[in-house]
Symmetry: C2
Amino acid sequence: MSTRNSLFRKAANAAATSHDEHANPDLAATNNTPIEQTRWNGWGNININKKVSPHGAKLIKSHIGKSTKLPSVSLKDVLKTVPKSRLPAAITDLDIVSTDREVRLRHARGQSFPDWIAMHSGDFETFPDGVAHPQSTADVEQLLKLAREHDLIVIPFGGGTSVVGHINPQKGARPVLTVAMSKMDRLIDLDFDSQIATFGAGTQGPAVEAQLGEHGYRLGHYPQSWELSTLGGWIAARSSGQQSLGYGRIEQMFAGGTLVTPQGVLEIADIPASSAGPDLREMMMGTEGRVGIFTEVKMRVQPQPEQEVFKVAFLPNWAAGKAVLKQAVQSNIRLSMLRLSNAVETDAHLHLGTSPSQFLAISTYLKARGLNSDKVMLTYGVSGDKAQNKLALMQFNKLLKQHGSVTGKITNIMGSVWAHGRFKFPYLRGTLWERGIMVDTFETATNWGRIDEQMAQMQEAVRTALASEGEEVMAFTHISHVYKQGASLYTTYFFRAAKDHAATLKRWQKIKHAASMSLAHGKATISHQHGVGRDHAPYLAAEKGELGLQVTHDILKSLDPEQRMNPGVLLED
Amino acid sequence: MSTRNSLFRKAANAAATSHDEHANPDLAATNNTPIEQTRWNGWGNININKKVSPHGAKLIKSHIGKSTKLPSVSLKDVLKTVPKSRLPAAITDLDIVSTDREVRLRHARGQSFPDWIAMHSGDFETFPDGVAHPQSTADVEQLLKLAREHDLIVIPFGGGTSVVGHINPQKGARPVLTVAMSKMDRLIDLDFDSQIATFGAGTQGPAVEAQLGEHGYRLGHYPQSWELSTLGGWIAARSSGQQSLGYGRIEQMFAGGTLVTPQGVLEIADIPASSAGPDLREMMMGTEGRVGIFTEVKMRVQPQPEQEVFKVAFLPNWAAGKAVLKQAVQSNIRLSMLRLSNAVETDAHLHLGTSPSQFLAISTYLKARGLNSDKVMLTYGVSGDKAQNKLALMQFNKLLKQHGSVTGKITNIMGSVWAHGRFKFPYLRGTLWERGIMVDTFETATNWGRIDEQMAQMQEAVRTALASEGEEVMAFTHISHVYKQGASLYTTYFFRAAKDHAATLKRWQKIKHAASMSLAHGKATISHQHGVGRDHAPYLAAEKGELGLQVTHDILKSLDPEQRMNPGVLLED
């Protein structure tokens, strides 16, 4: 066993320093990543790539068949399609507004599947007429005032990482001004007594943690988009991070702040708790840019943890893994994260997340310990006080053993490898795209009593969505956020590109509709962490009910009576 | 020391079984307390009284001077003032509607200070024209339909325990139907897998716990009004219980349910977490009966704790006690409750909560341990898993010692005595009333950085509010709910009755205004746990801002466009 372990460790170290996975040079920077440093037609920093392993590619092929790359348009060619700005001089004369074609192009699309099709086909449909980069709340107030005077549409833009169409301009007569918050990226105040940090809402994940880190503090919010997504975006779309079990969702972190609306400035008081009527924080979180723009936000932070550890365990099957998660959270074991891949995802992860030598080492190890193809991978972590972590790990290990877990040095190393590479997975999307393998994800949350049924239904819906074309879709699922009441389910799927961009988009639309319909029965949310955007808006009624939608609509109308802010997002009208 | 301890234990046991403090015979009953078993003009069960100790009465007198009892009107005399019902036959013909004068009188007022003045002077001003006792959601739907057809005002009524005027009918042309939820008091479903209990919203605290207790489960919500207040009331007014640190506020417990509104039935889905737009639960909690009536509610419950312990410690002064609370919550020590009385409250509690022999034993003990009049009393508890409790107590004891705590067998016994008698304190209000000593409370929450300043300001505002009359007001404060960001502050005050009811009410109005103004600066909430009602509505703008009030108003309007539901509560218009 020690041989296998050292083999794996060697392989792990090699992977961590290989050219395949540069450490992001800016992860410790206190500044945002300049948008020029990101891909104009894909995910992330231009200096980071993630290769697909040969055994990983082979696995996908065994599910969906041989695939062919779609053509990709050049930046130069798309720039030619950006039309003349329709903004009036009163706007374009402002120093903080740009009508540069590339700037507008880079703020036209997010990271949804339709966005990727647009960015690779060159068919963008619409572009903002200009992009503003305000540096203060006063700047944003001025922009909204001018937008009213000149009847503009305004789209707030954080990191541009939406996967459901939050930031795309609609076609229409009114000129579109996108307000990019990237210059408001500073820690403004840190109240050590109350543990409240005030930030510019445009601060990206790494810059949040780096600026807090200088004072020994941490926010602890790590969504998969963390490298580029922003505080304002997390709040506006109700984000949830990998360690939500320990640090809470964004709802628990957002204490209050400044929201500039077309009707004026709404200051949300940062009071610890209140019974004074409905909660304004909770009314404004999730409005997805439809009522205004968060400019300065007050976040609940805490000292950096004394100790943080991530580990991996394998369980014989899904039922055992699920039992461990449910019992851990319901018995208050103080972990900071729990993530359980189902058997297909476990298999995919072992193929896609390893070098050939790592794959061999882990597979041999798990087989020797009696696990078969039903095995599931469980990733867990503790973060905080050492004594509390020790008790948590002791109680959790007991639970793991009761359910037949396999753990050892090799799985502990896998935990560290996961922690090291956890923000690199989105880069795989581009690598697979180049091979004609289309990837997308969707996610939900439901009660424990419905988890198995829901997972089965959504996977089946996705797998069979292209049956009429004779296409197989590969789908797998994990739980990554657990609550006493239930858990999230996150499904990833692969399918082959069709003959062209339009036909490929149609395939995606079929899958997306099938997946969304499997959620639209009022028992599972249309989204646990991605938000509604345009892609989920048609399915929201099943969750909220007609009256629920009406109330939501009336909130938006109250602060934006002229439907100036990001229309079409969240609610279709 | 063992002598003092045994003296105290003997005294404690005597108190626990004395005629002074009957254990409430219904605390383990699965049924609600019938309203006929409660005082028509005061707090609680007619079989329970709480005497004031001679040294307690002397202490209050030393602060506010000699006081004289106000006269109290008889029930018979008030019944003569109840006017004829204005309800149409279509309503009064319903089996579930009563126009009986005593039933209407018993649903006309809550437990606010103006309510007590009304109930003792006999000047009720208004009464509901009838009281409905629906037995199902369908009954409530029918009532709201008839209310629309006959243009009635509708007031939802839970336990009648509001201390800020939630349930009082306003004068006006439209007849008033109060909808009392006491018949909807059953556990309807218990989902063990997802730990969700569905209850009739009219279930009172003891009946909630007794019905869950039959299955080994617990909700864990214990507000001071627990004996009579209901699930629906807790949700509608955003209640918080004594063990909120461990079990959460009502916001964390309420998973969803059925709200019948004038516009139709709003079903709030019980999904563990969601990013699908603003949170409907959080929009409906705190609406205080202005948008509809909760009929069935889904609550997050959990198994009864393996172990529950309450203890008391004394610290040398407020600064030391506050440091212990702040550090405990910010370092995630897993306690279920923390409560810190300031020095004046500590003194008052030692006088009012003890028999003469107990008082002597404790005072002698604390003096011998070097504490002076700056000393503060800290009550804390753990509830749950034994290993987690053990670690929490170990970590907390370390913190206590660092700040100079005094603990011992005698303080441990005090913890048990507190737990035993904790729902009896409200009964003291009636006892003191009989001596002409007026009692009221108010409460807030603010960030740790503002706690001391806020406490000083609010106590000073109250103490000096009657200075122009030459009257002293005795005021003291505790923290009873702690958050990483800040804490609640709860102030109790005593003042003398004036020459008559009207003049006494005027005194209260002066104090209430002074107290509320000390909160109305947007940094401290107008209420952390009592809600807004009528008494706090004028001060809400400072907390929510104009736009915040506008959005709140538009939510109410969306579901109740004809302002039929509980008008005047929460928002003044």
